[in-house]
Every structure is written in C-alpha cells, then in structure tokens.
C-alpha cells in the first residue's frame, strides 16, 4: 500500500474513532476527544512543517492568530459566521507565516527554532499589548459555537465537526505530502544544497511547507477558541507547544501515524496521571528522552534486521 493511502487511512480512521468514541463515551471522555481531535490538527499541520527540515517553535502562537481571528470576526462589527471566521483565521495564520517566512526561513537548525521562538513570543506579546483589539491579558470571551451545528451547545456535535475538519485537513496534508511539491519539500529537508544545485527553489518550498502548515494551526486555533468560548494569551503556552513537538519526536514524522500515536501516548499519560497534573510535564519529558535514545537504538536494530533479511 502506498504511503499516501496509508496516511489517508490514518486520518479517516482517526476521524471515525473520534466520532464513535464520542457516541459511546462518557461526558468526560467527550471533552478529552474534542481536545485530542483539535490537537491532532495541530500535530498533523506541524508535521508538514517539519518535513522541510525545520522544527518551528511559533506553531502555537500562529494558532493564536486563528483564535483571535475567530473571536474578532465572529463579533460585531464583522459578525461573520463562526465557521467562515475559522477559515479566515486559517488564512490569516497562513498570511502571517508568509510574512514571517521571509526573515525566518533564512535561518537553519537552532537559529531557526530560536528565531521562530522569538517570533512566536513577539506575537504573544502583541496579543497582550494591543488591548483595544485583543482584550489584553484577559482576552476575548463569549465566542459562539458554530451556528451550523443543530445544537451548538452539544459537545458531541462539536466533536463531529472537529472530526470532519480533521479528516478534510488530513486529506489536504496527505495529498501535499505525496505531491510533486511535497516530494520536493522533503528533498529540501533532506539536503538543501543538493536540492538547490539541481534546480529546486529551496526557499520557496520551505516557505510553502511553513505557510500551509500554519494554515492548519490557524484552523485549530479557531476551533479551540469557539470550543472554549474564550481566547486569551494564556492559550499560547509552552506546554501545548511542547506537547506538539513531543508528539512528533516520540511518534516520528515519516508518516501521519507517527505524530498521532505520539499524541495518543502523551494524552494517555496525561489522563493516567490526572490526579497529579504537576507531574505530567516531567513524565512527558522523560518519555521524550527515552524516545530519542530508544528510537535511535530501535532504528539501528531495524536496519540490522532488514540487512539480514534482505
């Protein structure tokens, strides 16, 4: 089975699992699933960015653009339908990424994550400082749920919406990954100098991955905002950023199943240690280290095993 089909299966299976889980699970479970679905969108869009070879630390701040867009556009004087505002939020996030990519994508490796980190932090400060627009530290409250849901207060219906958005975006990212542009993005991620030397515009493809990945972050941000009913600078927290990165590290980014399984693993730990939430980041950290160390060992064993069986 081709990698493309496997990725499509992964997102469809995840979407279906969310909906089924929502129908059979408890109320508490429903909330966990909604968060899992929205974070899955973040993680899958983040994976698209990592394929170009850079691990951004601005993803959650860019997600915030989506959240604030929905908060502002769904209220007067704009009064756009929430879903339209969410799509607009995705586009604004992509636009911001496009502007950011000009300076930031000239950096590599730790310079890249430092500059994205700085850009994200600057953006978060903007959300705090421009009080007239963003409501300062208290943010913007009373954001409606999408009107197209028959019963906007039903979490189950919202979960179905999240699952649908997840599947749509998943299909988009899976196609991108298997497309001509996707292959070139991964080529640039593997060896930028070689890619440029044979005629691939490395900067454009890195920017493309960053912009399209940020679009998904904006959409996820919109969903978070409308689900929580409020958006504030505290949504842009290091924990969530770490969770997204950790999911990609633990699961690996080669295929879509990796980050999803990584996120599943982190969520399970979060739920198991729910009574002692202060330990969760530490336990996550331990598992990230284990994943890095054990992952290398496991890849080594796998290569030996494959060589023996070749």
């Amino acid at each position: 089975m081709s990698a493309f089909r496997r990725d499509l299966m992964t997102v469809c299976a995840l979407g279906a699992a969310l909906v089924v889980g929502g129908f059979v699970g408890s109320n508490y479970m429903l909330g966990v699933l909604v968060l899992f679905g929205m974070t899955s969108i973040l993680v899958l869009s983040y994976r698209t960015i990592t394929t170009m070879g850079g691990w951004s630390f601005a993803h959650i701040a860019i997600m915030g653009i989506g959240g604030y867009s929905v908060a502002i556009l769904s209220k007067p004087p704009f009064g756009l339908p929430v879903l339209v505002a969410t799509v607009a939020g995705g586009l604004f996030a992509a636009l911001f990424a496009a502007l950011l990519s000009y300076p930031v994508l000239r950096t590599r490796q730790y310079y890249f994550f430092l500059s994205t980190f700085a850009a994200g932090e600057a953006l978060r400060q903007c959300f705090i400082q421009f009080r007239e627009i963003t409501g300062g530290t208290s943010g913007i409250a009373f954001i409606e749920r999408p009107e197209i849901l028959p019963n906007p207060s039903s979490t189950l219906e919202f979960l179905c919406l999240v699952a649908a958005v997840l599947v749509l975006l998943g299909i988009f990212y899976a196609s991108l990954d298997a497309s001509d542009a996707g292959l070139k993005i991964k080529a640039v991620g593997e060896d930028e100098a070689l890619s440029s030397s044979i005629g691939i515009d490395a900067w454009a493809l890195r920017a493309l991955a960053f912009i399209l990945g940020s679009f998904g972050a904006g959409i996820a941000g919109g969903l978070f905002a409308t689900y929580n009913g409020i958006v504030s600078p505290s949504d842009i927290n290091a924990m969530l950023m770490f969770k997204v990165v950790a999911a990609c590290v633990i699961g690996g980014t080669t295929r879509f199943s990796g980050p999803i399984l990584g996120l599943l693993f982190l969520t399970l730990i979060e739920e198991i240690f729910r009574v002692v939430p202060e330990f969760v980041p530490m336990i996550w950290g331990v598992f990230v280290i284990i994943a890095i160390l054990f992952g290398q060992w496991a890849r080594g064993r796998l290569m030996v095993w494959r060589a023996k069986n070749a």
């Binding site: 493309f4 497309s179 515009d201």
Partner: protein
C-alpha cells in the same frame, strides 16, 4: 556556451580566485586542475551560484548569470556535483534520480503541484534513463543509502543528468572509485560529451584527466597559469613545477 571572465573571489585578505577566465564550448570536456587550495572548487562554487563572485562575470549562452541563486542557474541548464558527495539517501536510486527530473520542472506556488499524481511513468522513465546513462540501472530499486561511497558519486552525476543539463560541473567524480570503475565512469562521461553536454571537470586523477579532457585549465593560487590541450599542459614548465612534477610519481 559557458563563458567566464575575470572571475574573482576574495575571502578577507585571501584572493581564492583571482581573475579566472575560460570558455567552454558545446560538447567540450574542460579539465580544471591545480594543487590543493588553488581555487578549483571555489571557481566551481562561483559558476554554479553557491558563492557570489567578488568581481567578474559568468555567461550562459550570452545571459549573464553571476549573482543568480543556484537553483536558477540549474534551471538554465548548468548543474554541478559536489566534492563531498551529496545524494538523496532516503529512498531508492530511482527515487533519488526522479527528484532530479522533478527539480527541472514546476513551481512551488502552483496548487496543481500540491496534488499527488501517483506513480508518474514519465518521470520514472526519465529517471531510469539517467541511471542507465551512468550504468546504475541494475540497482534502480536498491536503497540509495546502501550504495558504497564511490558509486554515490556516480549516483550524484545521474541525479544531475536527470535535470537534462547542457553543462555539467563535475567535482572529482572519480574519487573513491577503483580502477575498473574509473575506466567505466570515464567512458560514460565521454558518452555524455558525445551527447552534446559540455563538462567542466575537476579531478585529481591525472591519467583520466589527460584521457578525457579536450582542453585543460591549470590554476595555482587562484590564477590561471596555463591553458591548452592535454599534450601542451603535460609539457608546460610552470605546470610541471607547480603541480605535475610532484604529482606524477604519486599518481593515486
């Protein structure tokens, strides 16, 4: 085809390349030789756009290209390989070379290119042909990461070929190959010339250089100290003094 004039590159107080000029005709193999540190690789980097020249110009068919980013120069038909071999190792040889085919076409911003096309027969055929031209066709479906160092160099030439270049800059293509492989790759490079591709060749293996090249340019301390046919270069006193005299007996 390729014409460089008075090309210079200054690193701080060091003139790495100092007023190099040369003309490369269609279907010509031009050797670029010189002792270590004489500016051969820097010249390659300047021509291919990996480095910006401090002065001088580079023309491709009359179009000035100095200062262009390397991907644009590659799209104009001038592709280089690297001294420290660079190949895509994540997939098979065919997949690695197919990227060369793809690299020569399409823009990132065209949404049509964001949709998968499935197994693209045209691209695979072109990639397979490029592998065939370098004698790697029988290994097309092997993982590129398993290829030994010398053959990785050959794969890097095949990847460059897949872009259908008119001019190839080969940086030590024979390094790390054993004698029979050297002979085979030399024959294949001659075939590329017969197909009308112009080649600028940096190589330390003097026997192969003498055999392959139509003309040779010799650099020392960033300057051209001699230019001519292999016979002329072999007799040139300054060349013998700077380079061949030391090298001839220790021909590796």
């Amino acid at each position: 085809m390729l014409e460089i004039n008075n090309l210079s590159k200054i690193f701080g107080s060091l003139k790495a390349v100092d007023g190099v000029s040369l003309k490369l005709g269609r279907g010509e193999i031009r050797g670029l030789i010189g002792p270590n540190g004489s500016g051969k690789s820097t010249t390659m980097n300047l021509i291919s756009g990996s480095l910006q020249p401090s002065a001088g110009d580079v023309s491709l068919d009359g179009v000035r290209v100095e200062g262009f980013p390397s991907h644009r120069i590659a799209r104009l038909g001038l592709v280089r390989t690297f001294q420290l071999t660079r190949v895509y190792t994540s997939g098979t040889l065919l997949e690695a070379v197919a990227l060369g085919v793809r690299a020569a076409q399409g823009s990132a911003w065209n949404p049509k290119r964001w949709i998968p096309t499935g197994e693209n027969a045209k691209i695979n055929i072109a990639a397979f042909e490029a592998l065939e031209r370098m004698g790697l066709a029988s290994r097309a479906n092997e993982p590129a990461g398993n290829l030994p160092g010398g053959l990785r160099r050959v794969l890097s030439i095949a990847t460059a070929l897949a872009t259908r270049p008119r001019i190839l800059l080969l940086d030590e293509p024979l390094a790390g190959l054993h004698a029979t492989e050297k002979a085979e790759v030399s024959t294949r490079v001659e075939q590329l010339r017969a197909d009308g591709i112009s080649i600028l060749l940096v190589e330390h293996d003097m026997k192969s250089v003498m055999r392959l090249c139509d003309r040779i340019t010799v650099l020392n301390f960033g300057r051209v100290i001699a230019e001519g046919t292999p016979e002329e270069i072999g007799r040139h006193p300054e060349v013998i003094k700077a380079y061949l005299g030391r090298k001839r007996n220790s021909d590796a």
